[in-house]
Amino acid sequence: MDATTTPPAAPAVSTSELFTAFLKVGLSGFGGVLPFARRMLVEQRKWLTELEFNEVLSLSQFLPGPNIVNVTVIVGRRFQGVAGAVAATLGLMLMPMVIVLALAAVYAQFAQIAAVKSATHAVSAAAAGLIIAVGFRMARPLRRTPWQVGIAVVAFAAIGVARLPLLWVLAALAPLAVGVAWWTRR
């Protein structure tokens, strides 16, 4: 069964259902929404099977763009084409945008208070740590493959230390990495 493109016989999902389902997903996640999207799609509404979700996710990670937005576009498309993709994505982004901008506006009013300033500073320090941990967790399965370790180190050094523009780094590194992967494939 073709997981990403073939519309299934059932369920039939309307544009407004797509909007409201992703509206709830957008509201539920702190520090990443994907687990909540998976729960909604696979467990609660059963719009996708476990296998189909994994297939959608791997396509979403393969392509550029925020992974959750890509998942949303693919699911919306599957049930209602362009209208479905737009409705689902608007649903996903609407409330988080409203909340984060309201938060920013409130923050701007109180940013001069020392306690607010130092709390924000401490939160950003912790959040930077969370991102480092995400990167380490992604790097862990690569450690037994020397060329992958090499590519990861070069990507880190070029972007993090040398501060080279992303376009140049990807233009040089991505073809090189694909070449090595192709050469060493079994």
């Binding site: 393969f62 994505t89 500073h121 950003s124 912790a126 740590g129 690569l142 880190f156 990807l170």
Partner: protein
């Protein structure tokens, strides 16, 4: 307003994030160094302190982590900036995804796809660690902040504690001005 800042037009924001959308392999977390490079170091849309405040707010709000893009847009050009930046960030990659689905089923078992995927995995991991490193350099100006970052990395890698607890604990320590 800091006179050294050079605020972007909506067109500048759109141009920057339209390109970044198609470069964002590995999602929003992987492009933080590039946003920082543009917004703080090259174009001077905001200071390091502004950037780390927007980053903190994006992490403290519910929703996808691409929200950092809307806050950068907001800081630089208000609500219109937030909308333009977010739309520019999501539209090109979404259009690509929408159309790529049709070729994916033929492509997914191809050796080339498997090679591309194993090539991009280390690139993405390197970019995300670089994001954390760039943020740490922008944020951690004293040992207390370093200690919070280090403790968070340790807890996130060795426990199953929900990230919100770590952000909450950091906020409390900060609010009490212990750090």
């Amino acid at each position: 307003m800091d006179p050294a800042l050079d605020l972007p037009t909506l067109l500048d924001l759109a141009r920057h994030f339209l390109t970044l959308s198609l470069l964002s392999i590995g999602g929003a977390n992987a492009i933080i160094p590039e946003i920082h490079l543009r917004a703080v170091e090259i174009e001077h849309w905001m200071t390091d302190a502004d950037f780390s405040e927007m980053f903190a707010l994006s992490q403290a709000a519910p929703g996808p982590n691409v929200l950092i893009v809307s806050l950068i847009g907001w800081k630089a050009a208000g609500v219109a900036g937030a909308l333009v930046a977010m739309l520019a960030m999501c539209a090109p990659s979404s259009v690509l995804t929408y159309h790529f689905v049709t070729v994916w089923d033929r492509f997914r078992a191809a050796p080339l796809r498997i090679a591309i995927q194993s090539a991009l995995a280390p690139v993405t991991a390197g970019l995300i660690v670089a994001s954390g490193y760039v943020l740490t350099r922008a944020i951690d100006q004293d040992w207390q902040a370093f200690a919070i970052t280090g403790t968070t990395v340790f807890l996130a890698l060795t426990t199953r504690l929900h990230p919100l607890w770590m952000l909450g604990a950091a906020a409390a320590l900060g609010a009490l001005q212990i750090v």
